[in-house]
């Protein structure tokens, strides 16, 4: 069932991106160019650009998918992503801008005068960047799969090729105006469908939202099974079936299905009466111990220790925004520290506005389109919803808008990440110039594409949450303590970054390979931020206190640079230049 407007919308967004990139718009890499540009960029525009790049596949598709499948606890992701920017504002916004570093490795080297630390931070930039790229690739894969009917890998490869080629040819990133437009496009792409669908179908019973309620069909619903699905019924149901169900070919017969697992082959048509329980595919079922309206997230198959898993996500998202590699660059386009604060506050406002809508879509799904619980992948729910709730042209157009916004999210975030990763690779690992950068863009894009092929089974929200967890366990302590604590030494910083980041990576990889699926292990390994962030901070503090003789020189000078208000800076530094690349 080809949604022609959706294909057209995706193609348009992609072509626009490539066209802007092909014009060879580059980021200026010298501080002076930035200073010139910065004075012309009003904080609102800057804030929209930052928000536009920050909102990725997880925000667009992942959160709504998680809310539908796992319950209201997934709202903690949207709260965390927004509050993460508030924490950034409170702790690091103005001092970080005043320091003037362009990337996190630059900050590390400038603050501590240590090449070893720089190498460690570069390694983590690569890890976090790739971890964040994987869900974008997956998002592209499932979007094209839904819209065009192509296999999963086609979307992944398509995104990989477009983004790598775009960056290698000249890079679209860096044009503030384009990124600003991205935010408004994404806001419309999720807000307009949400509001329209809400207006069209919002009235009526809210029974499926009642606490402890198992979802039921509120009216007679025909479900067409697109792909063979194994589903579970919570209660027995009487169903009219045409097609193959539980290996029996039926032609428009009414059967009584007991509670439990059943299999339907593709092409089957099932008609459920009002009040029948909603069948849920195996990937949409919550652990037995929680209800949909529970405000907790869970880890593992038995759903125990919800508080631990919830706090793990909260800590990861709250403190991970500081450590995302592609965010610091956006900061540098503010003229000074005070402007950085204002911009960051506007970002919090813009993000809050955006995150109202995934929740709306998820709630509408549970209320009015519960047959989406048969979807194999929760992440595709948002894309399917408009056509289901408003059959015909209007639903198609809304679906096209959502698909376009989703693809814009994948393109912009992937581009930003690929530039960070390729930049780190080419400058720090291979020590080359422009030509090396282009080669690295292609290499990095290829690795990301290949790595994204097997991650289909992990939800988008989970993958991005993990990227945040690694950032929170490594770069957040580095930046926060580096800004506020004079006595942090390079040894302490390196130890903290490696131990925190390393521990978090190991926990996540272990979870991906299915190491622990029950009880304490699942919660601690699945959402490791709850212990890796305190671990990183402690290691940094203790190691620094033990190695005080290697405190970097010029610490007072750097404190002045980061904390002195703008009005005094001009008189204290006769040259007035912010930090420039060595």
């Amino acid at each position: 069932m080809l949604n022609v407007p959706a294909v057209a919308a995706i193609a348009t967004v992609t072509l626009l991106t490539v066209a802007v990139g092909a014009r060879g718009v580059r980021i200026a890499r010298t501080p002076d160019d930035f200073l010139v540009a910065a004075r012309e960029v009003p904080p609102g525009l800057n804030a929209a650009a930052i928000s536009g790049e920050y909102l990725s596949a997880a925000s667009f598709l992942g959160i709504a998918g998680l809310i539908v499948s796992q319950g209201l606890g997934a709202l903690w992701y949207s709260v965390g992503y927004t509050a993460g920017y508030l924490v950034l504002l409170l702790l690091v916004a103005a001092p970080l801008r005043r320091f003037g570093a362009y990337t996190i490795p630059d900050f590390a080297e400038g603050r501590f005068a240590s090449r070893g630390l720089r190498r460690a931070t570069t390694g983590l930039v690569l890890i976090i960047g790739w971890f964040y790229l994987l869900p974008q690739m997956k998002g592209a894969g499932i979007t094209l799969q839904l819209v065009l009917g192509t296999p999963y890998w086609v979307g992944v490869v398509a995104l990989g090729v477009v983004v790598s080629a775009n960056i290698a040819m000249g890079g679209m990133k860096g044009v503030t105006f384009v990124q600003c437009f991205q935010y408004w496009l994404k806001l419309c792409a999720i807000g307009i469908p949400a509001l329209v669908l809400l207006a069209a179908t919002g009235h009526g019973s809210t029974r499926n939202l009642s606490p402890d309620a198992q979802p039921v069909f509120t009216h007679r619903t025909t479900v067409q099974v697109q792909t063979s699905t194994e589903f579970k019924l919570a209660r027995p149901a009487t169903v009219r079936v045409t097609g193959t169900l539980d290996r029996a070919r039926l032609a428009d017969q009414t059967v009584f299905l007991p509670a439990g697992l059943h299999t339907a082959r593709n092409g089957a048509v099932l008609v459920f009466g009002a009040g029948s329980p909603v069948p849920a595919s195996l990937s949409m079922i919550q652990p037995a111990s929680t209800t949909w309206d529970s405000p907790f997230l869970t880890a593992g198959t038995d759903g125990t220790h919800p508080l631990l898993a919830t706090y793990g996500v909260i800590i990861a998202t709250l403190f991970g925004a500081i450590g995302l590699p592609h965010i610091l660059v956006r900061f540098y386009t503010n003229p000074d520290g005070g402007a950085a604060r204002r911009t960051t506050l506007i970002v919090v406002v813009l993000l809050s506005t955006f995150y109202l809508f995934p929740a709306v879509l998820a709630v509408l799904t549970r209320l009015r389109a519960p047959e989406l619980y048969l979807s194999k992948d929760p992440d595709s729910v948002v894309l399917s919803l408009p056509s289901l709730l408003m059959p015909g042209r209007p639903g198609e157009l809304l679906g096209a808008l959502v698909a376009a916004g989703a693809f814009a999210a994948f393109l912009s975030t992937s581009s930003g990440l690929l530039v960070s990763v390729a930049g780190a690779l080419s400058h720090d690992v291979m020590r080359g110039g422009v030509g090396t950068f282009r080669l690295c863009a292609i290499i990095a894009g290829t690795i990301a594409t290949v790595a994204a092929l097997p991650v289909n089974r992990f939800s988008l929200g989970l993958l991005v949450g993990w990227a945040f967890a690694i950032a929170a366990s490594s770069f957040c302590p580095l930046i926060v303590l580096g800004i506020w604590w004079r006595r942090l030494t390079w040894i302490g910083a390196t130890a903290g970054v490696l131990v925190g980041g390393g521990a978090c990576c190991c926990a996540i990889v272990a979870t991906m390979f299915g190491a622990a699926t029950r009880s304490w292990g699942a919660a601690l390994l699945g959402q490791p931020a709850v212990w890796t962030v305190p671990l990183a901070f402690s290691v940094m503090v203790v190691t620094s206190l033990l190695t005080q003789e290697s405190t970097p020189p010029h610490v007072e000078h750097m404190m002045l640079r980061m904390h002195l208000p703008e009005g005094l800076v001009r008189r204290t530094y006769h040259a007035g230049r912010p930090y420039s690349r060595a």
Partner: protein, 147 residues
């Protein structure tokens, strides 16, 4: 304009700050057609020359800034981090509905965002005022001239 003090080489951490004698300067200030003398003022010159008083000033500034940041962070964290605990301790709270919508949805889906924005706005205001007060303390004349 205050004559800019010599911006000496930044002192090494651990090395003692510049001698106290460095701060005993007479600063000649021209304001329109008047000349004024400011004697022995602890201010910007100390910060620039990294004297004992300069370090004290900077430390008081960073301490105030950090205090403000941590206070606002504590408020935000108290609001955010207390919600799971409250929900866990009061199971009946989860059953509350507002206009048919679960309380969790209303709070986490919409209600908490204005709180975050308010904390951010409050922090920005206080931070700017703090910095303005520091500039007033350290370089009052220069600030007026700079306006």
């Amino acid at each position: 304009m205050t004559s800019p003090a010599e911006h000496g080489a930044p002192a090494e951490h651990g090395a003692p700050p510049a001698e106290e004698g460095a701060r005993r300067r007479k600063v000649v200030v021209w304001q329109h057609d008047q000349a004024r003398l400011q004697h022995d003022v602890i201010g910007l010159g100390d910060v620039q020359s990294d004297t004992v008083y300069g370090r004290l000033l900077v430390r008081s500034l960073t301490r105030a800034q950090l205090g403000l940041s941590l206070m606002c962070l504590a408020i935000a964290l108290a609001v955010i981090a207390s919600l799971p605990v409250i929900m866990a301790l009061l199971p009946s709270a989860r059953k509350v509905t507002v206009a048919g919508l679960p309380l969790t949805l209303v709070i986490l889906g919409a209600g908490i965002f204005p709180v975050l924005m308010a904390v951010g706005w409050f922090y920005n205001r206080q931070a700017s005022q703090l910095e303005a007060r520091f500039i007033d303390l350290v370089d009052p004349v220069g600030r007026r001239l700079d306006a």
